[in-house]
């Protein structure tokens, strides 16, 4: 479902302030997702054998994001910014399903449910900030396509092992992607605002 973006509220904010706001929110949800992943594995995935046997991929792997400082420095600002927007957008629907799954999960603590709700709402705010930055940096730029999530069936599976593994895997992917968003935004700010002299 595409979002209708309203730019009226961002005209009077400086680009540095936009970066600071986005980075702050990204780091916030990155910390929350790390706590959620560790908490779920501690309660539902007693044997690490699951990961060894069924190591799965994340639905955002197809975006081919840079994985080292050299790769980041070799990517142009607009390309890197569009990647960040694509990652954030890719988690719009999975977060909604994740809220429903954890809400109906027996034995799950309420804290993990509250955290996932917080992550869902904050991700939507970050998306708005990122679009504003893109327009400021490259007026007229258009968003890239985003990856679709295909793990809904496993999250709803009647088999507990299948469902637990699916949830563990998606929480891990969410943690990794939110950390990427935070790291890429820090690099962009140093490049655009401080000319790589942070």
């Amino acid at each position: 479902m595409p979002m209708c973006f309203d730019m009226e509220g961002y005209n009077e904010i400086t680009i540095e302030e936009l970066f600071d706001s986005a980075i702050f929110m990204a780091q916030y949800i990155s910390n929350l997702t790390t706590q959620m992943s560790e908490e779920f594995d501690a309660n539902f995935v007693h044997s690490l054998g699951y990961k060894a046997r069924n190591s799965s991929n994340c639905h955002t792997t197809s975006l081919a994001t840079p994985a080292s400082t050299e790769q980041i420095q070799q990517t142009q600002s607009d390309v890197l910014l569009k990647m960040v927007i694509s990652i954030s957008r890719a988690w719009y629907h999975p977060l909604k399903q994740l809220v429903r799954a954890l809400a109906t999960l027996e034995g799950a603590c309420k804290t993990i449910l509250l955290k996932v709700i917080e992550v869902k709402e904050t991700n939507q705010e970050i998306l708005g900030e990122l679009k504003a930055i893109l327009i400021r940096v490259h007026p007229g730029a258009e968003e890239n396509v985003y990856a679709a999530w295909m793990g809904l069936a496993d999250v709803k599976s009647a088999d507990d092992n299948t469902r637990y593994f699916a949830l563990s895997n998606i929480l891990h992917c969410l943690d990794s992607d939110t950390n990427k968003v935070a790291t890429y935004l820090e690099a962009l700010k140093c490049r655009i605002i401080h000319h790589n002299n942070c």
Binding site: L48, K51, S55, N57, S68, T69, I72, N179, N196, C198
Partner: protein, 589 residues
């Protein structure tokens, strides 16, 4: 000999989020040489790889360089132990390089003691990020902490500094030595170990400077306070003089404290000017008397009568006709000539009836008079004479103007001379009286007593005492008859004075005049001393009452009256000259 024990992976750490190293603890070796190998596979990949480097990180370790490091991917790592007897495998370890970062501690720590503008000292701590990490490009975001303590303390004091690479520490003790260290941490990694320790001593110079400053401030403030106190003291004194001006001491003009000390109240009063009060009262009295003197004969007669006989109303009626009869000046000359002849013809006959009348008088006159014996005969004689002779009123009118004029002339002239003349005459009278018989001596003694009382008392008492003198006249008449024979020639001027005094004196004197017609000669001779005494008393009183200053004032006010009186005096003197030759002619006849 046995197979090797199960090894254990100790930890994996990445210093820069681009490379990482894993360490393991070997198990028992089974008594045989044992080889260890590390194998790993990545998330989403099926291949398994062996450790790329067993040497760089030391024994029992495996180093993954940038080439073999991927972030945001999970590494599945295991370690195998193998000897001749067999092999064993460790538990797998899942590693995400993003979350195993442990950086090196910060570098280039510098300490510096500084002062603020208010001379407050503080410690300035600075450092740099570790060299391995790439902070400039934003790949890393570091957070820092510093800790410090004094050399003698046991516990550290930790301060979180956030992302900044410098920090200021206040409230340090001078003379103390402080130790400082720093460390850092990435967003999702582990804290580094504490960096190199540095120390610095806070010098005492600052405290000394502070103390000197405080001393200077204290001294200046003290000086300022002294100046303020001094200024306030001066102003206060001037203000006090303004608010409470000095009270002047008492200053009384003409006042002499010595007089108070000596106790001379009279002199004090005079010095203070109090003498003005008595003179004013005296002036009033003098004015009243002067008015009496200037006024007509009637006014003079009225006060004398009221003083001597206030109860009797009949006497004033007699005075009124006297004033009317004053116009007949020619008749007076003829009457005076008759008086001169009468005493020479019948002196012994008049003496006898006087003696017979005396016993009747005391009964009627006892209550009003203090001296019944003396007063009674005088009254009876007067009344009988008046009934027998109608001429007495004419005689009174003739004598009164002489008396008044004489008094005025004396006042106008020098009072001293007049007083001397009257005193001489009084002495002569006293000598004559002493020569008389026993009864006459008694009368004389009474008269002598009255004279000193007049002198001692004030003005009023002598007027009241004139009454007894008048009552004593009859016995004097008898005595005078004897003396008259011998002294007729010498008493001629006395006769004139007697006439003048009798008229203004008392109505009783008019009765005596009745005797004079037959006894007139005797009466004339006897009345001379009484008239002299009265005149002297009046003169003395007038002298006392009239000070020189007041005399000048009166003269100014009454210039017209004095001029008139002077003319009258001259005319009357002329008349007296006429009388004298007639009297001498009668005596020769």
């Amino acid at each position: 000999q046995s197979p090797p024990g199960k090894p254990e992976i100790h930890k994996c750490r990445s210093p820069d989020k681009e490379t990482f190293t894993c360490w393991w603890n070997p198990g028992s070796d089974g008594g045989l040489p044992t080889n260890y190998s590390l194998t790993y596979s990545k998330e989403g990949e099926k291949n398994t790889y062996e450790c790329p480097d067993y040497k760089t990180s030391g024994p029992n370790s495996c180093f993954f360089s940038k080439q073999y490091t991927s972030i945001w991917k999970i590494y599945i790592i295991t370690v195998n132990a193998t000897n001749e007897m067999g092999s064993s495998t460790s538990d797998p370890l899942y590693v995400d390089v993003t979350y195993i970062v442990e950086p090196e501690p910060p570098r280039n720590l510098t300490l510096e003691v500084k002062q603020l503008k208010d001379k407050k000292t503080y410690l300035w701590v600075k450092w740099l990020p570790p060299t391995i990490t790439d902070v400039k490009t934003g790949w890393f975001t570091m957070e820092y902490e510093i800790r410090l303590k004094s050399e003698e303390a046991d516990e550290w004091e930790i301060h979180f500094t956030g992302h900044q690479t410098q920090f200021k520490v206040f409230d340090l003790y001078p003379g103390q030595k402080y130790l400082v260290q720093t460390r850092c941490k990435p967003d999702h990694g582990y804290w580094s170990r504490w960096g190199q320790e540095k120390s610095i001593e806070i010098p005492n110079d600052f405290t000394l400077k502070d103390t000197t400053v405080w001393i200077i401030v204290a001294v200046l403030s003290a000086v300022i306070c002294l100046i303020m106190v001094w200024a306030v003291a001066l102003k206060g004194y001037s203000m006090m003089t303004c608010i409470f001006p000095p009270v002047p001491g008492p200053k009384i003009k003409g006042f002499d404290t010595h007089l108070l000390e000596k106790g001379k109240s009279e002199e004090l009063l005079s010095a203070l000017g109090c003498q003005d009060f008595p003179p004013t009262s005296d002036c009033e009295d003098l004015l009243v008397e002067f008015l009496e003197v200037d006024d007509n004969e009637d006014e003079r007669l009225m006060p004398s009568h009221s003083k001597e006989y206030p109860g009797q109303g009949v006497k004033p009626t007699h005075l009124d006709p006297d004033s009317d009869s004053g116009h007949g000046s020619y008749d007076s000359h003829s009457l005076l000539s008759e008086k001169c002849e009468e005493p020479q013809a019948y002196p012994p006959a008049f003496h006898i009836p006087e003696i017979t009348e005396k016993p009747e008088n005391p009964e009627a006159n006892i209550p009003p008079t203090p001296n019944p014996q003396n007063n009674t005969p005088n009254c009876h004689t007067d009344t009988s004479k008046s009934t027998t002779w109608p001429l007495p009123p004419g005689q009174h009118t003739r004598r009164s103007p002489y008396h008044s004029i004489a008094d005025v002339c004396k006042l106008a002239g020098s009072p001293g001379d007049t007083l001397d003349s009257f005193l001489d005459k009084a002495e002569e009278n006293v000598l004559k009286l002493s020569e008389d018989a026993g009864e006459e001596e008694v009368a004389v003694q009474e008269g002598a007593k009255s004279f000193p009382s007049d002198k001692q008392n004030t003005s009023w008492p002598p007027l009241q005492e004139k009454g007894p003198i008048v009552y004593a006249k009859p016995p004097d008449y008898v005595e005078i008859h004897k003396v008259n024979k011998d002294g007729v020639l010498s008493l001629l001027p006395k006769q004139r004075e007697n006439h003048q005094t009798e008229n203004p004196g008392v109505p009783e004197t008019s009765k005596e005049y009745a005797k004079v017609s037959g006894v007139t000669d005797n009466n004339i001779l006897v009345l001379v001393p009484d008239s002299r005494a009265q005149n002297t008393a009046l003169l003395e009183e007038s002298a006392k009452k009239v000070p020189p200053s007041l005399e000048q004032n009166q003269s100014e006010k009454d210039l017209a009256s004095f001029t008139a009186t002077s003319s009258n005096c001259r005319l009357q003197l002329g008349r007296l000259d006429y009388l004298d030759p007639t009297c001498f002619m009668h005596s020769f006849h």
